[in-house]
């Protein structure tokens, strides 16, 4: 895996043109307040409503470097910063012609080229920005930390275009490592080729398809065997919501009650997607499915979804969390905790998993749908740890967007009338309120 680097992101809608970043940079790089020396430049529209940013992107394939005849520009492999060796620069300015972003510019006072050097990793412009328009994105750390783990899935999976499950499964198994037994009950995960075909597994770990009814009990048995022979092997279920909340629930509930040691991941795509988009008990109110059709009488599902993560929390599992692939850092943290908790008992992670095929939205919108679900509180991200007895929100949303904004992204909600939207909004609000009470009560108990 190549290395990934921190990057400075610009959110033009948050910029107010105060110029603090420019002043800070001029001070840092020249010791003066003359904005001409700033490596970061903000362009303001005459009407003052829009802002443009000229700043080096520290490109992965920097064109300035390729166009430099003097070999003065180089991308530093350690920091990712494109650096200019001024002793080699001949001031030909071809770099300014090669850069699409005005990331390297000619300073007419010094008669030299100048560009951002990321202040050695802690950019002062970002620190000076009070509106949040500049942000140092550190997602690269995750990539670097996780990129070297071995991908334990086959290169080709037969998932639908834009499926969330591939992202989830690959990253989960990377971290779990080869000392893992994977159970994928009938459903999408098994269907996309996780267990393979014709006697060849789709993972580089032992994997099997239990029955839809007995995933948790089969893993419990396998783990007890490994305990007896003294091997620490992680049991991992990657199961759909049908195999978890409906058909497989009694074995899951039993295993949770007995404190069986496993990581149980429910991939909640809110229905039986693999068999033709039928409703499940986690399908939300109002959803179209092939068994909750939309016609002159029925207007989608008439019942609310079963709050399975809360039900699992009430089983006193060692660890329970909700997660979303739109918030990978959050998911990674939770996976680490789940693995640790699975040494003691059951860790249950409920992953919200939008489905472009069954929910009817463009594949490219997958992450956006996941993001809006969290930002509208449709899917609050939280975790419960039995050792501390705490429930805590891991991505609290202070000003949630109306749930309508989330619903509007998805085809299965297109038919909703105002009353139905109102019903969903109320259910979402009530759900968050309930979680909030748990969080408070648990706090008091500690």
């Amino acid at each position: 895996m190549g290395k990934s680097y921190h990057t400075i992101a610009f959110y033009p809608e948050k910029c107010n043109g105060c110029g603090d970043c420019v002043k800070t940079c001029s001070q840092a790089k020249s010791g003066t307040n003359d904005p001409i020396h700033s490596r970061i430049q903000v362009a303001k529209a005459p009407e003052g409503t829009a802002y443009g940013l000229a700043l080096c992107r520290q490109c992965g394939e920097p064109q300035c470097v390729m166009n430099c005849p003097a070999g003065a520009l180089k991308k530093d492999e350690e920091s990712g910063v494109v650096k200019c060796d001024e002793t080699m620069c001949v001031n030909c300015q071809l770099c300014t012609l090669a850069c699409d972003f005005a990331g390297i510019t000619h300073n007419s006072k010094t008669n030299q080229q100048m560009k951002c050097d990321m202040c050695g990793g802690d950019p002062l412009c970002v620190k000076s920005c009070s509106t949040g328009a500049l942000k140092l994105l550190k997602g690269a750390d995750l990539f670097n930390a996780w990129g070297d783990y071995e991908d334990l899935f086959v290169p080709g999976l037969s998932a639908c275009l834009g499926c969330n499950s591939e992202l989830l499964s690959r990253h989960t198994l990377r971290r779990m490592g080869p000392e893992t037994v994977v159970a994928t009950p009938p459903g999408c995960i098994a269907g996309v080729g996780a267990v393979g075909y014709n006697g060849i597994t789709g993972t580089k770990t032992p994997s099997f398809i239990p029955l839809l009814t007995n995933t948790a009990s089969m893993l419990a048995g396998a783990r007890r065997y490994y305990n007896r022979i003294g091997r620490d092997v992680t049991m991992l279920a990657i199961a759909g919501d049908g195999g978890t909340a409906d058909v497989g629930f009694q074995s899951l509930s039993g295993a949770a009650e007995r404190g069986e040691q496993m990581v149980y991941i429910c991939v909640d795509n809110e229905g039986y997607m693999n068999t033709g988009v039928q409703r499940s008990s986690t399908t939300p109110y109002g959803s179209w499915t092939s068994t909750t059709p939309v016609g002159s009488v029925l207007r989608g599902k008439t019942r609310d979804a079963k709050p399975l993560p809360i039900i699992m929390m009430m089983h006193n599992c060692e660890y329970v969390a909700t997660a979303s692939t739109a918030f990978m850092e959050d998911y990674y943290r939770k996976l680490e905790k789940a693995i640790a908790a699975s040494k003691r008992g059951m860790a249950y992670v409920h992953v919200f998993s939008p489905c472009p095929t069954g929910w009817r939205f463009p594949a490219a919108q997958l992450i956006e749908v996941g993001r809006k679900a969290v930002e509208s509180n449709m899917v609050p991200l939280w975790e419960y740890e039995h050792q501390t007895g705490r429930l805590s929100f891991t991505h609290p949303v202070d000003n949630p967007v109306p749930v309508r904004e989330y619903l509007m992204l998805i085809g299965k909600y297109r038919h909703l009338d105002e009353n139905q939207i109102d019903h969903i909004q109320k259910a979402v609000d009530a759900g968050v309120r309930m979680l909030g009470q748990f969080a408070e009560k648990r706090d008091e108990a500690v």
């Binding site: 362009a43 443009g52 000229a54 394939e61 300014t96 007419s108």
Partner: protein, 419 residues
């Protein structure tokens, strides 16, 4: 004889760019780069700075052996290609050795072209394309005190400036105007003025009738009756694609090697890029030689991506003239079509011309879109201008605002539009 998957002939910008594009897509396929020169890859663009002494010859390499080892590329120096044989997918080197390839990129660049001036061939002269040329000129400059530069292009002017700064008496003779690919006569008038103020005599618009040599000096006679003489004669009257080794092969050439939008030649499994290639123009149906560094990088990248089967490849948009030029502490640039004929209809221009302040700015629009820009000592982001032209950004009502502040408006457009 040995075999390679990718063979790159030439080691300057187009070849290097192709090599890196290949490696982004195919990390393992054997890549071989052959160069006619002894040195590690360098840019001809750096040579005027070697002449001036600003860049020592030890510091011109763009890549070294460690780099080639790291990306697993076999680099063969001193290996001039003398013939290519598409029928059995092989090339022959000067040494007689043969290399067979699966995919071949010709990026051999161009050679200086001698203008057809009577007597020039027989008169001792210098040219500037290789490090050897540069070092010879530098050596001559140390002993001699005057020079005539034939040609008003970038190489000629850069070298003239550096010779003047080194204390030589320099005369530039250009058959027409200076830098005529990039600037109109108003702009070149300003450049010429700066040269004159710095003691360089610039003579334009008068063809040379003949060149003679006598007693270690050369004499140049112009049609307007002027006779010049100097110790050093530098010929910088243009370049010609280096294609002689293609004789007898099925690779089709016109002025250069004809290539399509993926830099493919007529012959199977052979690509060409950079100064040697003749590719489509951005502005018209014709195929042009666009021998400039940024285009060599671009064409090389496209060729490399196509050779490696990179699915992210976007076809070549077509060459546009562009360059940056610094002279005696001043800076200038030109991108696109900033020299349209007066007769061309439907064009709008915006001009700032201030000879006293040595400032010049010209913007050319067609149907609400920018098609060219040039400037001397003005604030522009040439890269943004280049993208505005290539992307044919519709300016509409923003045109006046843009002309008023191209730097600011360009950056706003870039932030909004570039993806």
């Amino acid at each position: 004889m040995f075999q390679t998957k990718y063979l790159i002939v030439g080691s300057s910008h187009a070849g290097l760019s192709a090599m890196e594009a290949i490696r982004l897509c195919d990390q393992e396929g054997p890549v071989t780069m052959v160069s006619a020169e002894k040195a590690y890859p360098y840019s001809p663009t750096i040579l005027p700075y070697v002449i001036s002494g600003k860049v020592p010859k030890e510091r011109i390499s763009l890549r070294n052996q460690d780099y080639f080892d790291k990306i697993k590329v076999r680099f063969l120096n001193d290996s001039r290609v003398t013939g290519i044989h598409p029928a059995d997918s092989s090339v022959t080197l000067e040494s007689g050795k043969k290399i067979t390839y699966e995919k071949l990129l010709i990026a051999t660049g161009a050679d200086p072209e001698l203008a057809p001036i009577p007597g020039l061939k027989d008169c001792p002269h210098y040219k500037l394309r290789t490090i050897k040329d540069a070092l010879e000129i530098r050596k001559a400059m140390n002993k001699l005190s005057s020079a005539i530069v034939l040609g008003g292009g970038l190489i000629g002017l850069h070298t003239a400036e550096n010779m003047a700064k080194a204390g030589l008496q320099v005369t530039v003779v250009a058959r027409r105007t200076l830098l005529r690919r990039y600037f109109d006569t108003q702009a070149t008038g300003l450049i010429q003025k700066v040269f004159a103020e710095n003691g360089v005599r610039v003579l334009t618009g008068s063809p040379i009738t003949h060149v003679t040599s006598a007693n270690g000096a050369c004499a140049v006679s112009l049609e307007n009756g002027l006779d010049l003489s100097a110790h050093i004669l530098l010929v910088a009257t243009g370049v010609r694609p280096r294609t002689s080794f293609l004789q007898g092969s099925s690779v089709k050439t016109d002025e250069g090697i004809l290539v399509d939008e993926r830099m493919r030649t007529e012959a199977e499994n052979i690509w060409a890029a950079g100064d040697v290639a003749q590719a489509k123009s951005f502005f018209g149906p014709e195929q042009i030689l666009n021998g400039i560094l940024p285009d060599a990088v671009e064409q090389g990248r496209i060729a490399g991506m196509d050779m490696a089967g990179d699915p992210a490849l976007k076809p070549y948009q077509g060459g546009i003239p562009m360059n940056t030029y610094t002279f005696f502490g001043n800076h200038s640039f030109s991108v696109g079509s900033s020299l349209p004929g007066d007769s061309e209809e439907g064009l709008e221009m915006d001009l700032i011309y201030s000879p006293a302040g040595l400032k010049y700015q010209k913007l050319v629009f067609r149907e609400g879109r920018l098609i060219g820009a040039a400037g001397i000592n003005t604030s522009f982001d040439p890269g943004i201008i280049r993208q505005m032209i290539l992307r044919q950004v519709e300016l509409g009502e923003m045109k006046a605002t843009f002309a008023g502040s191209p730097l600011r408006s360009g950056r706003l457009l870039m932030t909004r539009l570039w993806r």
